[in-house]
Symmetry: C2
Subunit: 397 residues, 2 copies
Amino acid sequence: MQYNISDNMSDVKGSIIRELFKLAKDPNMIAFGGGNPSPETFPVEEIAEITAKVLKEDPVSVLQYGLSEGYTPLRETMKKHLEKVEGISFENNELLIVSGGQQAADLATKVLVNRGDVILTEDPAFIGCLNTFRSYGAKLVGVPVESDGINVEKLEEALKENENVRFLYTIPSFQNPTGITMSAEKRKKVYELCQKYDVLIFEDNPYGELRFSGESVKPIKALDTDGRVIYSGSFSKVMAPAFRLGFVVFDKELTGRMTVAKQCTDVHSTVLFQHICNEYLTNYDYGGHIAKTREVYRRKCDLMLNEMEKKMHPKVSFNRPEGGLFVMAFLPEGVDSFPFVQEGIKRGVYCVPGVAFSADPSVPSNGFRMNYSTPSDEQIIKGVDILGKLSYEWLEK
Amino acid sequence: MQYNISDNMSDVKGSIIRELFKLAKDPNMIAFGGGNPSPETFPVEEIAEITAKVLKEDPVSVLQYGLSEGYTPLRETMKKHLEKVEGISFENNELLIVSGGQQAADLATKVLVNRGDVILTEDPAFIGCLNTFRSYGAKLVGVPVESDGINVEKLEEALKENENVRFLYTIPSFQNPTGITMSAEKRKKVYELCQKYDVLIFEDNPYGELRFSGESVKPIKALDTDGRVIYSGSFSKVMAPAFRLGFVVFDKELTGRMTVAKQCTDVHSTVLFQHICNEYLTNYDYGGHIAKTREVYRRKCDLMLNEMEKKMHPKVSFNRPEGGLFVMAFLPEGVDSFPFVQEGIKRGVYCVPGVAFSADPSVPSNGFRMNYSTPSDEQIIKGVDILGKLSYEWLEK
């Protein structure tokens, strides 16, 4: 058979991270390349307890087909939670439960983007969503990220120069892959620019609750008076990734379209896990759980940064994340990180080369993303030691 | 805000079934309109047992991110199962786990269909998949279904007359909505026609294991020597719908594309439920469970058909399904079923009007779909009684 692959999918390459993920099954490989939350943060006992209770008392409610919009009590709980924690108003907004943050991007793109339309994106940005955008034939235009978030001058240039811009894709808090947080001032400026050029914003906030240092900053969605911001979040990093649960918030006018898009893809998300999330947020110590999770990540991040400071060649630079799962390190300008990462894999530690996160992957990157949430303390120390030695060899050869 | 909805999604209406589904929350409403499996068939105790065990012994394995392709042991189990039960060879085929049968259609369409391409479909056909095809901008061309399956002369005409036909969509066993099963001869003929015109087949088999009378017929995929058939199945009707688990089988050449499509939509399907399915198929009495489920459906189907024979106006015709969840009834030719169904809802029983399943919903339908798996025996008796009385009023007025 000769298969005719659709135009949209012909250009999408697999996620290098998902491929590298398979390396992590090798118990001798130190995994800095994934984005897995730390398993020690999973509320295992509570999940088991809630599951046993509901499967005993009302099994049909969590095994039968559910509503496409999501489990109503969880939707209400999340609305209250986002109102309180993130300052998002639900006067004109609606919330749907989706199958992980990834699906929020998938549905929004399905509803809003035609083949050939432009999506502006922070550059580098999360490869999973970039590939989702590519899978609809979107043209990606990257806007560089600085230490306090997206470069707003370059953003305005991109807004000016491109036609048919459907939205700006941003992770303002603890960005993937850079770990950078966009300042409150920049968030306001970004919103105003998107108002000026009448462009939507897709604000992805999977790590928002994982702040372990610095001052809390409200999401762009909290500034949204126009219905301009589609906001997504995830239970993957605060409950468990295998739940495949997230949520997406948008102006009520889009509810019908987003619901139909959800129907067309997977009908609804798993009900048992929605039930667990709702129970956990409502009747358990969710605040305490988040505090504990943050502490785990603060400690792991500190450990990795301290080891990097000690072991990396001084010409390797990196930022200090205030939350989330990732730190991005940079070889000197002009030094391609790809062969460096490959050599690291040969020596037993894997990171993700920056090029994986580029809007235009044909341009080499000097960065590489390191994850501190998955590896053990011993692996962090050993892995950074390997990469540190490699950096000296690499940069002095 | 003025939202610019994508061209593909502008034309997709919500599933009327999903809207009607909300009616079913009214405890006084008799629900013949859903496609819910009977909750008495859910293996609740076993699900609870396996869940408790794995959450105690190895929680991280079912809570952490999983592979996009699916849980490897379940994939292997399903390959063996399909080889044995359905005669599908895995010499040249691959199997991925997806988030319900619906997602199999979504991914296949994403990978294979450009906006404007033609998909041939049985007419009437499952609205969920028709909407998925529409959400990619596919042009649907319906081919009528007869009592032994699709009309092959009309199929050949459609194959001849249309360009850019990407695949034929068919549910050969216990079709949704008609309940009809395609004969073995027609399956062969359909395959040969698709060979002749070099068109793929998307064979949807969510109810395949639910045969309760008649002779077993192998799927079209079992005839496939070219890699021409994409075959999907579901755990929704044999385990639990809220698992949101299904599988899709296709020629190995498509593995990379299908996997990337999966990554772009929801990364992977829930791991706990994959684990449960694998445990259940491997170490529990799956055969006995299926036998029990078939018996439940045989009994319920018989009850509904017997009541229909007694109560419906003689000009209301219907088929006798050999399996699955649905029977389709027909008012006399030229009588639109839509107002009939609406009047039924007013009287406390809802079915789905045939127009919901039409490739071209602008043409009225005289059929309506009735589901016997969800309602209780009492509801079946009472609901058919209401519709029966209504049919007399309707056809004698």
